[in-house]
Amino acid sequence: MPVNTASLVIGLSYASLLFLVSVGLSVVFGLMRFVNLATGSLYLIGGYIGWSVARSTGNFFLALIAGALAALVVGVLIERGFLQRLHRKELLQVCLTLGVAYIVQDVTRWIWGGDPLRLRPPELLRGSMELFGSVVPIYRVALIGIGALLAVLVWYLLERTKWGAYVRAGVDDLEMVQCLGINARRVFAIVFSLGALLCGLGGALGTPVTGVAPGTDIQLQLMALIVVVLGGLGSVTGAIVASIVVALVDTIVRTFWPEASFFAVWALAALVLIVRPQGLLGRAA
């Protein structure tokens, strides 16, 4: 039986990373119809900064914070500098964020070189443990825990707080929300920044697992797009479910038929959108 606990752990830990990258993208997408193709770049920044900080200080948790903050800074710069003037202009957003992605990729290649960099997990989480009769890396299990925790946190924030209600209302009907006197731009800015923060955190957390290299950004970006669309724009629950589905399909196909692993996820995305044009949990447009 190839689908054992080990591959489940690998799949779910990957799902954690996917969720961190895609949840911000999904809500921003849903809220402002904003297409951010620099999401993968924020992951890349988080990963590289985290790697450097961990190398110089030897402290993994400092690396996580630094990675997340670096991505936050870049995210805020993108939002303040460009996005505010591109509301509802999807093609220009695509072009602009692609430009940012190119620059980030080139600058990081300049600074950190083209070789993949990998981070060792902190002392506490190194090695492996036994779980339901399989030997699994402790760090992967920890990733699942962190991902689940953050998923619950984000879900609570968006589904159970007043502020989250503003966001959800904005996803449904932005004009109406603005009529009610809520500053939708500020809500958007906060969501965007939080999304960037989670992306950077994902990048730093993912470095021991996926490594960082030029190209990691594209890979994560494409996966995040699939997750966002499969889950339905603007839906946190959708992002959670889709992250798990995509990561598990990816991991399972990787063990059965390695050459096809990259395409399986796309076939899944195509199939879902053919059957349900609004995504798994999205509302009909």
Binding site: L92, A267, P277
Partner: protein
């Protein structure tokens, strides 16, 4: 308004001049620039075909390379297994592109906006996967090498092989672009712009919007496949790289940079992107960054594309003369070209 009519007056002369330049190019340019020019012509057709979707119909396709690759593989397979002559092979490539569009169209057209983007991307990746894994027929990642370059018989022996294929490309692309010009200026093309601006409105006027989009998708597929077929002949090779979504993304960038929804914009975008790739990469390694900076500057300074540069300069000069603020881009809705196009549609109906 005055300035616009002047430029309209000069347009036939400008096109004629461009044509003459393109015709004498092989006598002036060495081999390498001529092959770059050939590539520019092919990708101009690719970008213009994508512009039918992206610019005119407002359908954000990120999967246009599927058609490019289909055309390429049609040519490659026909050349490998049947030795089909080029004109017939290119025709079959176009038919294959249209067929792919007709098959996938009903599915992709159920989606809108970002979902359309991802579904076209997903289907392209699936096609990429099929080509990649179906090694026996497509050669997998090795592709199909050794596609013989077709030559114009009446130029044989008179010009170099590069120039010969250049003229072949010029004729095919020229005819294709002329027909695209005819399509987008036809009532059908105007209706597409109407759909982009306000689909419900057009539907309300009794236009079969779904059918119009379906036809546009098929047309774009056909032209895209033609470009792909030419490119396969140009390279003498077709491989999965010619289906890759990176190519679709590049096409999208060409269209947006040049000016989506304008006729000549995609050509300008293509020239810019290819020259950046070949020329700037020759003297600096940081050309990816330069490309990124160009994207951002274009979006910020010329949001309607580089093709609008003369108008933009005129606006800024007028502004400096009057020292008055620029007219707000969202201001009087009646004067945007797209609104005018909608009005023209309404007048016709």
């Amino acid at each position: 308004m005055n300035a616009k009519s002047i430029s309209a007056q000069w347009r036939p002369a400008a096109i004629l001049g461009l044509l003459v330049l393109l015709l004498i190019a092989p006598f002036v340019l060495p081999t390498y620039p001529l092959s770059v020019l050939t590539e520019i012509l092919i990708f101009t057709l690719f970008a213009m075909s994508l512009n039918i979707l992206l610019g005119y119909a407002g359908l954000p396709s990120l999967g246009h390379s599927a058609f490019f690759g289909t055309g390429g593989y049609a040519v490659g397979l026909l050349a490998k297994y049947l030795g089909t002559p080029a004109p017939l092979a290119l025709l079959i490539a176009v038919v294959a592109g249209i067929a792919l569009a007709l098959i996938t169209g009903p599915f992709v057209l159920r989606t809108h906006g970002a979902y359309f983007l991802i579904l076209t991307l997903s289907l392209t990746q699936v096609l990429f996967g099929i080509v990649w894994l179906w090694r026996r027929v497509t050669g997998g990642d090795d592709g199909l090498p050794g596609i013989p370059t077709p030559k114009l018989p009446f130029l044989l022996g008179r010009v170099s092989d590069t120039a010969n294929f250049y003229y072949l490309t010029l004729i095919v692309v020229g005819i294709a672009i002329a027909t695209i010009a005819w399509v987008v200026r036809s009532p059908f093309g105007l209706a597409l712009v109407g759909i982009r601006e306000n689909e419900r409105y057009l539907e309300g006027l009794g236009y079969p919007t779904w059918t119009l989009k379906y036809v546009a998708y098929a047309l774009a597929g056909g032209y895209g496949a033609l470009a792909g077929g030419l490119f396969a002949y140009f390279k003498g090779f077709v491989g999965p790289g010619q289906i890759s979504w990176l190519l679709a993304g590049e096409g999208m960038v060409m269209v947006i940079l040049g000016g989506a929804g304008t006729f000549w914009g995609p050509a300008i975008g293509t020239i810019l992107v290819l020259l950046l790739r070949y020329e700037v990469s020759a003297f600096t390694q940081r050309w990816v960054m330069i490309l990124g900076i160009v994207f951002i500057l274009t979006v910020l300074l010329l949001p309607q594309g580089i093709v609008r540069l003369p108008n933009r300069i005129r606006e800024i000069r007028a502004q400096l003369r009057r020292e008055a603020p620029l007219p707000r881009p969202t201001a009087p809705a009646h004067h945007t070209p797209s609104e005018r196009a909608v009005e023209r549609v309404i007048e016709r109906s």
